[in-house]
């Protein structure tokens, strides 16, 4: 863990590991699990699902989820649906989950190969919602899309995570090819790629403009990247996508190449596993593999009181079960030893201002936290810039009173969003 230096003037400098190209040889393959679990969007209600336990499915098969609408799922193994259950995730949201017993050998489904192999926006929408790297083609390719710029992430946003860096370094060829497909399936007029400085030369080969990002947190967050590249700040309460800038992970671009050149929708995810000593390792696992199988394959033991985090140390989400599966957006899984967990406290803010100086978005966190502690979400949003927060977590990281500031902020945004959407129909 990166501690405050003894002499601590100025803001924290949290640097990313920049990986060596030699690491390329060391990707570890996680064996196919006996059972995969695929999480669905929390917008889908479990009682509306038309899938049933006992249905047999093939690898890469598109499974329709609802009677009406286009919602679908891509099966990542060949086998039978075992059960449909629910997972409770971040901020209490409920995710329907489909578990499939894997039969062993993969038998590939043909639908994509027969009907979807032309690179166009319609096929992207129809087949790529569960692509490794979790591209959001609903915003990138749909007819209403206002995205005019796409930025390819060749650098992961959180610390210690090296998944997309790894892809740029090891898959430059397929990345270049994928960019051509990307141009055909989206409507953006400009495409950039961002990489750490040492990969810049490599990334030049892709033929799109390269931006080298100094790998210091939080330079890698989308809002900061957008500001540094285009000079535009995201308006409070908006996302980069609302402002016409879309992001796609390098891994997803490579997945496009795999899909179109082989006629199979890729079902393996590359992820960084960060062990208890905070040493990252790159692995490839079938989407849906429970993390306990990943740990088993890597000989990582978990114990009572440890913490498992999906994502990196600054912005990841802790999960309560080792059955949580690797999903298309799982770029990293981190395991934190119980001895290394810093728990928040119920101290009051002492107004030291560390958070204000650390905040890259200029949010008056010291005032904000007082309002949020008292549940004054609307005032927080209107007067104290709750919605300008770009969710970097640095305020909690530096808080001398160890207040879970970031947690308050995320809850505040969530609650404020609920109040707003409840008001809207009457407006």
């Amino acid at each position: 863990m990166i501690k405050r230096p003894f002499f601590g003037l100025g803001t924290p400098r949290l640097k990313y590991p920049v990986i060596d190209i030699d690491i390329a040889d060391t990707i570890r393959e996680i064996p196919l699990p006996q059972k995969v679990t695929l999480l669905l969007s929390p917008d889908i209600r479990i009682e509306d699902l038309i899938l049933k336990a006992g249905d047999s499915v093939k690898t890469g098969q598109k499974l329709k989820l609802l009677d009406d609408g286009n919602a679908y799922l891509i099966s990542t193994v060949t086998g039978t649906i075992a059960e449909i259950s629910e997972y409770t995730g971040y901020l209490g949201r409920i995710y329907p989950a489909v578990s499939i017993d894997a039969a062993g050998e993969d038998q590939w489904d043909d639908e994509f190969n027969e009907t979807g192999k032309t690179p166009n926006p319609e096929n992207a929408l129809a087949f790529f919602n569960y692509l490794p790297g979790n591209p959001d083609f609903t915003t990138l390719s749909s007819v209403q899309s206002a995205i005019n710029t796409i930025i390819i992430n060749g650098l992961d946003s959180d610390l210690l995570v090296t998944t997309n860096q790894f892809v740029v370094k090891t898959e430059t060829g397929r990345l270049t090819e994928g960019i051509e497909y990307l141009k055909k399936i989206t409507r953006a007029s400009r495409i950039f790629i961002i990489v750490p400085p040492d990969s810049a030369a490599l990334a030049e080969k892709t033929g799109v403009p390269v931006y080298a990002v100094n790998p210091v947190y939080p330079n890698t967050l989308p809002q900061i990247i957008m500001k540094n590249i285009s000079g535009t700040e995201v308006l409070p309460g908006n996302s980069c996508e609302d402002m016409g800038v879309g992001f796609i992970n390098a891994e997803a671009v490579v997945s496009l190449t795999m899909a179109f050149s082989e006629g199979k929708i890729p079902v393996d995810k590359i992820l960084t596993v960060i062990n208890k000593d905070y040493v990252p390792e790159t692995v490839r696992a079938r989407i849906g593999t429970p993390v306990k199988d990943v740990f088993k394959a890597l000989d990582i033991d978990t114990a009572h009181g440890d913490q498992i985090i999906f994502g990196g140390p600054m912005t990841g989400t802790a999960v309560y079960s080792e059955d949580m599966p690797v999903s298309p957006n799982t770029d990293a899984v981190m395991i934190q030893d119980s001895a290394r967990i810093t728990l928040g406290s119920d101290n009051q803010c002492i107004n030291c201002g560390e958070c204000v100086r650390a905040c890259p978005a200029g949010v008056p966190v010291n005032m904000l936290v007082r309002l949020l502690e008292n549940g004054l979400y609307e005032e927080a949003a209107e007067q104290y810039d709750l919605l300008s927060c770009i969710e970097c977590g640095l305020c909690s990281y530096v808080c001398i009173a160890r207040i879970p500031v970031f947690h308050y902020i995320m809850l505040g945004k969530y609650e404020f969003g609920r109040v707003k959407s409840a008001e809207e129909p009457n407006a």
Partner: protein
């Protein structure tokens, strides 16, 4: 459920830079040591007595308040000890025990706990204590009267009082280097200029106090004293004299920088410090009190919430909504 493996699940971020409130407070006490050491060296056991009693009383009041208000016991965070220590450092070595007892009560209870504890106090608690004691028992805090039985081998008249009553003709009794090395009367821990500067720099470098506040305060004192001095050199002492006497340096590094009662944004910090410096010299030169630092800082504590409204535009707020 024995043997069941449960995972912890807290919220991001999962790392922390390791700082803590107690760490900060112990650093402040450490930083005060050079000045405290000099005080004890000069005044002996009585000085040690005042400081030790002040720290203990402050902690006991805090404990009592914790129990009365049914809040978690908070003396471990070191804040009460810091308040007690700073309060003690402001006092003359001869302060009677009951005054320390009352003063720390005011500092901890009236200055801090009734507002809800650390972080909620609008004023610097040690200053609230000293201000009330000053107004109630003037003579005990008159350094000339209080220290009349001491002869430490330098001119034993409180420098600010000397200049206030006699004009700059009194200045020849002091030398700047003497003042820096603590050859002046005053509070137990406020006279050793060099020690205070070392402590202050330590706190600044460790990031525990904000340099903007200390520096702008000193600049404020300097500029104001300079202007007075050129306006009437016979009556008003020069800027260096004001910086190295009274509570100026102690205020700059230990009082004005108290977190809860000071601003956190850049421009407000500068205004806050500079205005406090200006008021300090104003009160010294034309006000009723010999040293203006206490009331100047308290006045700026009042202004703090207003000042801190001047802040940079947050992300996306700088642009007009199209």
């Amino acid at each position: 459920m024995p043997n069941q493996k449960l995972l912890v699940s807290s919220h991001a971020p999962y790392w922390h830079n390791g700082s803590s409130i107690s760490g900060k407070n112990y650093s402040i006490m450490l930083a005060a040591l050079p000045a405290v050491g000099m005080g004890i060296y000069q005044y002996g056991m009585p000085a040690l007595g005042v400081l030790a009693f002040s720290v203990s009383c402050a902690m006991i009041w805090e404990l009592i308040m914790n129990l009365v208000m049914r809040r978690p016991v908070s003396i471990g965070d070191g804040n009460a000890a810091v308040i007690g220590l700073l309060f003690g450092m402001l006092l003359p070595a001869t302060t009677p025990w009951w005054m320390v007892l009352v003063g720390t009560f005011i500092a901890i209870v009236v200055g801090k706990q009734i507002y809800g504890g650390m972080g909620c106090n609008p004023f610097n608690p040690s200053l609230v204590g000293i201000a009330i004691v000053m107004l109630s028992w003037k003579n005990y805090l008159n350094f000339n009267a209080a220290l009349v039985n001491y002869d430490l081998g330098f001119y034993m008249v409180y420098p600010l009082a000397a200049v206030k009553h006699l004009g700059t003709s009194a200045l020849s009794n002091y030398s700047i280097s003497g003042l820096i090395f603590g050859q002046q009367t005053g509070g137990v821990g406020t006279t050793f200029g060099l020690g205070l500067i070392i402590g202050g720099l330590y706190l600044i470098l460790r990031g525990h106090i904000r340099w903007e506040i200390s520096l702008s305060f000193l600049v404020g004192v300097f500029m104001t004293a300079y202007l007075f001095n050129i306006a009437d050199p016979d009556k008003y002492a020069g800027p260096m004299f004001h910086i190295f006497t009274g509570y100026t340096l102690f205020g700059a590094f230990f009082l004005l920088t108290e977190d809860s009662s000071s601003p956190v944004n850049f421009i407000p910090m500068l205004i806050y410090g500079a205005a406090a410096g200006f008021l300090t010299v104003l009160i010294r030169n034309i006000g009723a009190f010999v040293d203006g630092a206490v009331f100047a800082i308290l006045m700026m504590n009042v202004a703090n919430p207003l000042l801190d409204k001047i802040r940079p535009k947050a992300f996306g707020r700088g642009i007009e909504h199209a």
